[in-house]
């Protein structure tokens, strides 16, 4: 079974999938609350990558440090969350209040995306070169601590990212089910008019949902930056495709399914493509005498192909599938 990927590659894939899961969950959250498909979401995540790069350049330039796994996600959560709130209050809400529809709001998020990419690029240029000669195009993976685990050497972020995804999801679930404001958020998602009638300030709920969504993106971006080859705000243009794919696979209107959809898409992109590449180049091509070629650059084909298949067979995404029916069938068989 020589075509199976090694442990490091599997862990890197799980880490990437975890980051996509967090990003897709955040995207779904703002969609279910405010009905805005936010195309700037991945770039908001890149604020996290910017924070990480800044910390590497100004604070942790001497070498890898475990502290960065606390400071970077926390600062990124706050900063990216604050930007998301700014975007909602200053741009999206006034546009929605003026009667703009879903399409106009979506286009506005494109505009914000481009503006934010340029701002981040400018800032990265501005801070360039205090301790590290060139920040743009910088591979910050050298600042990721290394862990020896099960006979392989792993980047620490490969472990931290899945753990962060699990902890943040649990915290978010606790918030939604056990706190008064969280229950109000669920109520607002289901029926905003009735929630308002019950005394809930739905506008505050929407604002908080944007903060959480931006915060989750920031954490994902800060930890994912360790494994990006070249940290650049432009990376978000490719990542957003996978984030939307994840949300759609999960079912755009379901927050937790967004997480699951993002995770599946992430695994398909990295692990799926890697398996396929190994299988073709190490087994199939040599056996049949076909020309070898790298499939790694076609990873988006996997995620978008999955979206097409899911939309054909489950138009409401995985959330719309009657899983109970299948579970009952399996139970009967056993």
């Amino acid at each position: 079974m020589g075509f199976l990927p090694n442990g490091t590659f599997v862990m890197a894939s799980i880490a990437y999938a975890s980051a996509l899961g967090l990003l897709s969950m955040g995207l779904s959250l703002t969609f279910v609350t405010t009905r805005i498909a936010n195309f700037a979401h991945a770039t908001i995540g890149m604020i996290g990558a910017f924070v990480l790069t800044l910390l590497v350049d100004r604070v942790y330039y001497t070498g890898p440090s475990y502290q960065i796994f606390i400071t970077a996600p926390v600062l990124s959560f706050l900063l990216a969350g604050a930007f998301a709130v700014f975007m909602y209050i200053v741009i999206m809400k006034p546009l929605a209040d003026r009667g703009n529809g879903v399409t106009e709001l979506m286009i506005a998020t494109f505009a914000v995306d481009i503006i934010l990419i340029n701002i981040l690029s400018y800032l990265l240029n501005a801070i360039r070169g205090v301790h590290i000669p060139k920040l743009i195009g910088l591979n910050v993976s050298s600042w990721d601590a290394r862990i020896h685990c099960c006979g392989v050497i792993l980047q620490a972020s490969y472990i931290v990212l899945p753990i962060a995804a699990i902890l943040l999801t649990l915290a978010f679930h606790f918030f939604l089910t056990k706190t008064k404001f969280g229950v109000a958020m669920r109520a607002t998602i289901e029926n905003p008019d009735l929630a308002e009638v019950m005394g809930v300030n739905t506008n505050m709920v929407y604002t908080v949902s944007w903060f959480i969504s931006g915060g989750l993106a920031g954490v994902a971006g800060s930890l994912l930056a360790f494994s990006l080859k070249d940290t650049s705000p432009n990376d978000s243009a490719l990542i957003i495709v996978s984030v939307f794919a994840g949300s759609i696979v999960g079912g755009l209107s379901h927050v937790y399914w967004g997480l699951i959809g993002g995770f599946i898409v992430g695994l398909m992109e990295k692990l799926g493509t890697g398996l396929l590449d190994n299988f073709y180049n190490q087994l199939l091509a040599p056996a049949l005498g076909w020309t070898s070629f790298s499939m790694i650059n076609y990873e988006k084909l996997m995620s978008l192909g999955l979206v097409v298949v899911i939309l054909l067979f489950a138009p409401e995404g995985l959330a719309g599938v009657d899983w109970g029916k299948y579970l009952r069938k399996i139970k009967r068989r056993w």
């Binding site: 109000a184 669920r186 289901e190 019950m198």
Partner: protein
Amino acid sequence: MAFLEVKSLNAGYGRFHILFDVDFTVNMGEILVVVGPNGSGKSTTLKAIFGISTVYSGQIIFDGEDITKLPAHIKAKIGLAYLPQTSNVFTELNVEENLRMAGYTLPPEDVEDRMQEVLEIFEFLKAKLKDKARTLSGGQRQLLGMAMMLMRKPDLLMFDEPTAGLSPKAARDVIDKIIWLRDELGKAVILVEQNAKLGLEVGDNALLLVSGRISFKGTARELLENKDLGKLYLGLAK
């Protein structure tokens, strides 16, 4: 001064003007029944008072205070309650969460006591606290909606066609509870009712809306006995 005064109310949805110069008052311990043909603006009247439709002009005075421009969540806090015709409970929350949600504006330490008081009135809910609201029957949902209204001890309760789609027995239960709210608790009630005869029989005063304008304002008994209006607009031709 009346407990609720609506003066020259013009309201609608965005650019769609539905209500034209509507005036009426409601006092404590009184049921005002609003009747009229479909599309006459009955529901819009309630929504305009609560602030979930657009008010173009006019004034809404509640307990001596002008509340016309207040957002709905503040109106809920100062003593108004509104039960929409449909989607009036949170189906994905369980009964207990629905009641807690209804007590959102209460101080946290009061929610538990208030919930117990409400459960004493709507006893059937005690056994269903952990059930999702979507598992309740139509009548039970209406009663849960009423229980949710009472969580905040409001002074003015507005019902939008609470008996629509209910069996005769369930409709009677709902109407009996509304009468109880007036007689026992002395609340002010606005009842929009598609079953005009049923509504006018329990109401004190009545408002007949036709195409967003008031066609009749007086006692419920007068409207019930007005054969011309009854025949023309309310299907009371007998």
